[in-house]
Amino acid sequence: MNRNFKIIFSVILGLSIFFVLLKGLESTKQYSPLNTSNKIDLNIYFQSLFDEKEYSIRELANKKNFMLINIWSSWCLPCREEHSYLMKLKKNNINLIGVNYKDNSNNAKVFIKEMGNPYTTILVDVDGTKSIELGAIGVPETYLVDSFESKVLKKYIGPLDQKKIEEIISILKK
């Protein structure tokens, strides 16, 4: 009786561990921006790249409802690819704020001179800590922000493409 019980118990235990692990295999626990909260702190102060004044993001929202925050760097190759799409967004009269991530300011200026400036203001994040306060994990990243409610409506991790900018424009038209 006791022996049987032990065997049955160990079989059940083994099976349950097997199924738990099997189920664990299916779901990949990769980081995704979907399971983060959508609040954003707009009262972070940044230095500007060109005029060396300090601005908070709330000031730069300029009392408009929506704005786009784009984190970029001159050393980041996907940012270079993304840049032409940002230039397209500029034509749509969007308040686009650039955050220059861990970059050399001269390189950043050369980059802008070469590729054009789609941003209304460029802010500098020298050591990357401010991007972390915004909730970024790397470059490039783009956030569509509702500045009245301090909410991130949409988070794009990685470079923008045609499909994504169409999505942004359609959200803004609503």
Partner: protein, 121 residues
């Protein structure tokens, strides 16, 4: 000569004080960053990683400590930005209840086994 003595003593005290407070805040940074998951690395903590993300994260933790934030506040701050996944400390909810309960069940079961063995003898 006397002045020089005073100066040396003060200098040594000064250096000691700064050295101590510096290493203390560094210890705290290590402690906190060991409990944080590096989101862009596979299976590494922020402490272990040397990625750009982890380096900035450690700097930010140091800044927050110097601002006088407590360890708990820093975890809350990061959870607000990166979600529950950033800390190595799963909350109790319906997805993690098994994780929390299994050790307890095993403990009770083991205890019962021991009690039975002892009482049989």
């Amino acid at each position: 000569m006397n002045k020089l003595k005073y100066f040396t003593v003060i200098l040594i005290l000064f250096l000691n004080f700064f050295g101590a407070s510096y290493s203390q805040s560094l210890d705290q940074v290590h402690k906190i960053s060991k409990n944080l998951r590096c989101l862009i690395c596979q299976g590494q903590s922020v402490y272990d990683s040397n990625s750009d993300f982890a380096i900035s994260m450690k700097l930010l933790i140091k800044k927050k400590i110097n601002e006088g934030r407590t360890e708990k506040e820093i975890y809350e701050f990061l959870k607000n930005r990166y979600g529950e996944w950033v800390v190595y400390d799963p909350e109790i909810n319906k997805n993690t209840i098994l994780l929390w309960l299994i050790p307890l069940i095993l403990f009770v079961f083991g205890g019962l086994l021991i009690v039975r063995k002892v009482s049989i003898k």
